[in-house]
């Protein structure tokens, strides 16, 4: 079994930096009036999940989520659970030609998985409170996922490796 240490270090650094940004600098792009902030870590986790598969996604998701839980002082294990499941599901988007890492396919993946992640997180977070789930959906899950997806558009303008197979784009 070959272990790609380079990839592990790269992913660890990426997640560490994003966790730091998420905890310290996310107010730069937060919409404080609407109480909305993007989830930068889930974007990276979806990327890792789609690129490296379910197991990698789940493990990185668990570690990153747990770290954020510890730092946020909120429910320990809640983000870990949310990220683990979400990044694992992202692994289903893994294809041989990395088609879900290319531009708008990635955006679709981010939106779908972000909805799932927020669904788990806010669904459990508001358990036992009198707030209706429909309201949680409208006020938190959907807006937060949409904003995260919008922020992930930045990914589409980043330079890509030449090695990506884009042959599927010319299919049909």
């Amino acid at each position: 079994m070959n272990i790609d240490y380079k990839s592990i270090i790269r992913n660890a650094i990426l997640l560490f930096v994003l966790i730091l940004v998420q905890k310290s600098l996310v107010w730069f792009i937060s919409l404080s009036q609407l109480n909305l902030s993007p989830d930068l870590v889930i974007i990276a986790l979806i990327y890792i999940g789609v690129r490296e598969g379910k197991i990698s996604g789940a493990v990185y998701g668990f570690v990153a989520g747990l770290l954020l839980d510890v730092l946020s002082g909120s429910f320990l294990g809640l983000l870990a659970l949310s990220y683990t499941v979400s990044a694992f599901i992202a692994g289903f988007f893994q294809t041989e030609n990395d088609r879900f890492l290319v531009r708008f396919n990635f955006i679709i993946a981010v939106f779908a998985i972000s909805i799932l992640s927020n669904f788990i997180y806010f669904g459990l977070f508001f358990q036992g409170t009198p707030i209706l789930f429909a309201k949680v959906m409208l006020l938190y899950i959907f807006p937060s996922s949409t904003y995260t997806t919008i922020i992930s558009l930045v990914y589409t303008i980043l330079p890509k490796k030449k090695g990506y197979d884009r042959s599927y784009l010319s299919e049909s």
Binding site: W27, F28, K54, A58, L67, V70, L76, A80, T84, F88
Partner: protein, 277 residues
């Protein structure tokens, strides 16, 4: 056994996911554990050092919002200060008026100036008191500083007063120090002048001018102004320029003096000056 190994290998992804979910749930259900609190404290301590460095970066959006809030506060406080200053000035003015009212033995009606003209040759002020307040034509108008003018027109609730800066108002005056008499009038342009003062009369700059007992309109001794310039009108008389003690520009509160022309004296003097033919 081999089959079991193969099965585990086939579902290893789900097994790992399950293990991680179990761990997550275990953490969720043990949120108050001492170990978890310790772990949390260590991690927060480590990140706190890094975060404290990052937190020195100014938050532009928050600063903007804070600036906006401070500006709004500034405007609100400026308005309050302005209001308080106005109240303070009003308090000083009213206190002075009240003490003046108490110190004078004459009947006074307090009034506010609701309108005034100061740029014409026949300047007047409108007061918010009238016949309902026992204010009648020819009553003197004064402030604590001195004579303002006299009432020339009244309605039920308002009255109009000629002020010293009115060409039609002439007042018999006296130099307080030397008791020299003269007639005060407004030249219609800029200054009050006292005429009919003999050339050799003792009048110097700084002398206070008051109403004379010869006046039938005003009680004697009301201060009017100070002499600012003396000169010769012709070979016989002096021309004296007087600055009024009352500041007409900032005039807001006045008193109407309940003092009316002595009719007996008025008619006697009038009948003597123009005897029936």
């Amino acid at each position: 056994m081999k089959k079991l190994g193969q099965l585990i290998l086939n579902i290893k992804e789900y097994l790992i996911l399950s293990v991680l979910i179990v761990f997550s749930l275990a953490f969720l259900f043990s949120n108050d554990n001492t170990q978890v609190r310790f772990l949390r404290a260590v991690a927060v301590g480590m990140f706190g050092t890094v975060q404290s460095g990052i937190s020195s970066i100014p938050n532009v959006f928050e600063l903007q919002q804070e600036n906006k809030m401070l500006r709004e506060n500034n405007i609100r406080l400026s308005n309050e200060v302005s209001g308080l200053k106005e109240s303070k000035l009003e308090n000083i003015r009213l206190t002075r008026s009240l003490s003046f009212k108490e110190s004078t033995g004459l009947g006074l009606v307090s009034a506010n100036v609701v309108n005034k003209s100061l740029i014409q040759t026949r300047n007047t002020i409108t007061l918010n008191v009238g016949e309902n307040d026992s204010v009648y034509i020819n009553m003197p108008v004064i402030t604590d500083a001195g004579l303002v003018g006299r009432i020339v027109s009244t309605s039920k609730n308002y009255s109009i007063a000629q002020i010293l800066l009115n060409k039609d108002l002439r007042v018999t005056v006296k130099v307080q120090r030397s008791r020299v008499d003269g007639i005060l009038s407004y030249d219609g342009v800029s200054s009050l002048t006292a005429t009919n003062i003999p050339k050799n009369a003792d009048v110097v700059v700084g002398d206070v001018i008051i109403t004379s007992e010869y006046s039938n309109l005003f009680p004697s001794g009301l201060p009017i102004g100070t002499v600012t310039e003396t000169g010769n009108l012709d070979n016989l008389f002096k021309k004296i320029e007087i600055t009024p003690l009352v500041n007409f520009l900032s005039l807001e509160n006045v008193f109407v003096l309940k003092y009316l022309v002595n009719k007996e004296r008025y008619f006697l003097e009038k009948s003597y000056q123009s005897p029936k033919k």
